[in-house]
């Protein structure tokens, strides 16, 4: 199926009343969970993941994609109005977005965010459509190469997303072990079940995602004394031609930047949005206005974030590599419906792949329509005290976790996951590597074992038998060395700064 034929078929599928309804429900649910303070797309999609179990492959992927996009739009509302970014990539938006809210221009900030997001998402969509060609190159890759690519993606995510390489790798290993529990697909023996029959079928990814990502977020928020409730004024939701003209450059630059960053597996979304912010400040005739409510400071990062959200699908759909926690959860939604994103998806289930791609465009339009005129409706949800939302969400999560396999054991696993996630956050562990290995772990092991079989038990051949593998492993070594080097340099700089700052204190003490 060629690109245009596939895309037309995708639009034909999505434009049925039933699928449009799923897209609409997904957008609304995504917006709704996105406006819960502190909830980013990852938490929102993990909470709503059980919904994917009860729909077919196409409706569930449509709905999950809409939820993801909707939660990104919803997250903007809390970033701008409450100064509470749902995830690290939204911090750049808060810098000028919240400053605009304080000046009574919150509505204007939300409007330019929606327009920028729509334009960025639409242009990135065109790029995504053409980038699907990459999957045809990836079809020829064997288990050795796929194993190497997955390791490469993991190293990128661990290296770029977190502060500590060691903690990132530990989190990745923990995710692998959760994936090992249950029946071994090759030999049929049970592994790591400690004789517990409930574990024989393995630990569901859905349950762990709800617990580690969603529940831990709620528990962390509940444990705070200061809670965020919005009682301010949004201001008029309109922008002038002058605002649009002022922001147009930021929007188009943000689109290009976001699309480029999204192509990289493990793309650091925060770096992309801050780079956009930095560029806009540099190019501005009034850099002194940044941080005090410059409209370009909202338009640039928001557009970048949404364009990146769209182009993040490229490594997922063409290589099967999720580039962020949210993408890992979406990959989980695919796998529980028996689909495996990657080069084979376009060959085996082109209708699902193209319907998903078309649904992204439809969701982008829907959200643009829903977010501008209905912004006051979404803001009204912010006026519900957060503790009510958190309490209700706990009840919803209990039903969601139970419904996965009709088992209270799963609810217990969700709570264990939630506590573990909370503990990991407190200890400074990044959760993205854990989410990634949870989903990719089984695939990683499958490719490893197939590759060993091909190599007749020669483990050295696994590393060096093909040129692609040699290049990828070489890149992995370089990346790891760079990460170790930068970590050492950063810690020595920090130690130097501390010694420097301690000197004047000592001098003062000496004078006394």
């Amino acid at each position: 199926m060629d690109i245009f034929g596939g895309l037309l078929a995708g639009f034909a599928n999505i434009l049925t009343p039933e699928n449009l309804l799923f897209a609409f429900i997904g957008c609304a649910l995504g917006m709704l969970t996105g406006v819960i303070p502190g909830f980013g797309p990852a938490s929102a999609t993990s909470l709503l993941l059980p919904l994917a179990l009860f729909l077919g492959p196409a409706p569930s992927t449509i709905m999950m994609a809409a939820i993801y996009y909707g939660s990104m739009y919803g997250g903007t509302i809390t970033s701008v109005l409450l100064n509470v970014p749902g995830e690290i990539s939204s911090v750049a938006t808060t810098l000028d977005g919240y400053a605009m809210t304080k000046r009574g221009q919150g509505g204007k900030a939300l409007a330019i965010s929606a327009i920028g997001s729509f334009i960025g998402g639409t242009i990135a969509f065109v790029g995504l459509v053409f980038a699907t060609n990459l999957s045809s190159f990836a079809v020829g890759l064997g288990p050795r190469e796929l194993f190497a690519i997955t390791i490469f993606a993991l190293v990128l995510v661990i290296g770029l997303a977190g502060d500590s390489l060691v903690k990132g790798l530990i989190a990745a290993c923990i995710g692998l072990f959760v994936g090992f529990v249950g029946l071994d697909p090759f030999t049929g023996i049970t592994r790591f079940t400690a004789g517990n029959l409930n574990l024989a079928d393995g630990i569901s990814f859905v349950i762990v995602a709800i617990g580690v990502i969603g529940l831990s977020e709620i528990l962390e928020s509940i444990g705070r004394r200061t809670l965020i409730d919005f009682s301010g004024n949004v201001g008029p939701i309109r922008i002038t031609w002058k605002d649009l003209k002022d922001s147009s450059g930021a929007i188009f630059r943000g689109t290009g930047l976001g699309f480029f960053y999204g192509l990289l597996p493990g793309s650091p979304a925060a770096a992309a949005t801050f780079t956009s912010y930095a560029i806009e400040k540099r190019l501005s005739k009034h850099p002194e206005r940044f941080g005090k409510g410059a409209i370009q400071g909202v338009a640039g990062p928001e557009t970048t974030n949404n364009a990146l959200g769209m182009s993040n699908y490229i490594p997922l759909l063409t290589l099967g590599i999720p580039s962020s926690t949210t993408m890992a959860i979406l990959l989980g939604a695919f796998t529980i419906n028996g689909l495996q994103p990657g080069p084979q998806l376009f060959a085996q289930h082109p209708e699902v792949a193209w319907t998903l791609i078309a649904s992204l465009f439809v969701a982008n339009i829907m959200l643009f329509i829903m977010s501008l005129p209905l912004v006051r409706v979404w803001v009204s949800f912010l006026k519900i005290p957060t503790l009510i939302l958190y309490s209700a969400t706990l009840g919803f999560m209990t039903i969601g976790a139970y419904s996965v396999r009709n088992s209270m054991f799963d609810v217990l696993v969700m709570w264990i996951g939630g506590l573990a996630g909370l503990l990991m956050k407190r200890l400074g562990f990044p959760l993205a590597p854990l989410a990634l290995t949870l989903v990719l772990g089984p695939l990683l092991e499958e490719n490893f074992r197939r590759a060993v079989s091909i190599e007749q038990g020669n483990y050295g051949g696994l590393l060096f038998s093909s040129t692609v593998c040699q290049v990828i492993y070489g890149l992995i070594v370089v990346l790891l060395l760079v990460k170790v080097f930068t970590t050492i340099r950063a810690s020595s700089k920090k130690a130097g700064a501390r010694t420097g700052s301690a000197e004047p204190v000592r001098a003062k003490e000496g004078q006394k």
Partner: protein, 228 residues
């Protein structure tokens, strides 16, 4: 002042908090090496060793193929090495370090990201510290402990009284104690919401445990009202 706030500020609670803080202080003074990160590293190391021994028991070599234990053993070995590295490189948690500025952690994070200019990073860090630092410093552990204990006490009764009655009790408790809502409003709102949720689950084909037969009972009432 809510019930949980009163508990948090009660003399006995404060005394218990002070006792815990004093005990932790005594232990860490006596064993300065023992900090939270190192304790976590030791726990992970022990788990990794256990996983390694279990993985080895599944077999490591199966002729020309990888045995069921090969890949888990490799992962466990990596985890052993990583936890040992962490054990020896662990630093006190930022909260424990008094001379640390609130935004430093955030600045460190951004400093690792490529591309963005340093001044924007510093600005962002200061801004983020304003936004989140204040939230993190004033934790409400009593509220969190209540949610954990209440969940641990209530949720095991699902198989005894059924999902919907249990969620009614569980959510009522959370709404009244945590969200500080009026009990009679909560009961009406929760009951109606759960009835809708139960209907939704029934339509969606989700089985919810109902050992006391509340579903047929409610259906009987609705059927009588509408003459079904």
């Amino acid at each position: 002042m809510s019930f949980l706030d009163r508990v948090a500020s009660a003399r006995r609670t404060r005394a218990a908090g002070e006792w815990i803080a004093a005990t932790v202080n005594r232990v860490t003074t006596r064993f300065p090496w023992l900090i939270a990160e190192r304790i976590a590293a030791i726990v992970i190391l022990l788990l990794a060793l256990y996983f390694l021994s279990v993985a080895v028991s599944y077999g490591l070599n199966d002729g020309a193929q990888a045995a069921p234990g090969t890949f888990p053993a490799l992962a466990a070995a990596a985890l052993v090495v990583l936890s040992v590295i962490w054990l020896f490189t662990a630093k006190p948690l930022k909260k424990d370090v008094e001379d640390e500025t609130p935004g430093e952690e955030v600045l460190d994070h951004y400093a690792h990201q490529e591309g963005a200019a340093q001044e924007e990073l510093a600005e962002a860090a200061a801004h983020d510290a304003d936004a989140t630092g204040a939230l993190e410093s004033d934790s409400h552990p009593i509220r969190l402990i209540f949610v954990l204990v209440w969940s641990a006490v209530a949720l095991p009764f699902v198989e005894v009284i059924g999902m919907i009655p249990l969620l009614f009790v569980y959510l009522t408790g959370l709404f009244v104690v945590v969200a500080q809502l009026k009990w009679w409003k909560v009961m009406i709102f929760t009951a109606l919401t759960l009835l809708l949720a139960a209907y939704g689950a029934y339509v969606g084909g989700i089985y919810l445990p109902d050992p006391i037969g509340i579903g047929p009972f409610l259906y009987g009432i609705v059927a009588r009202i509408f003459g079904w």
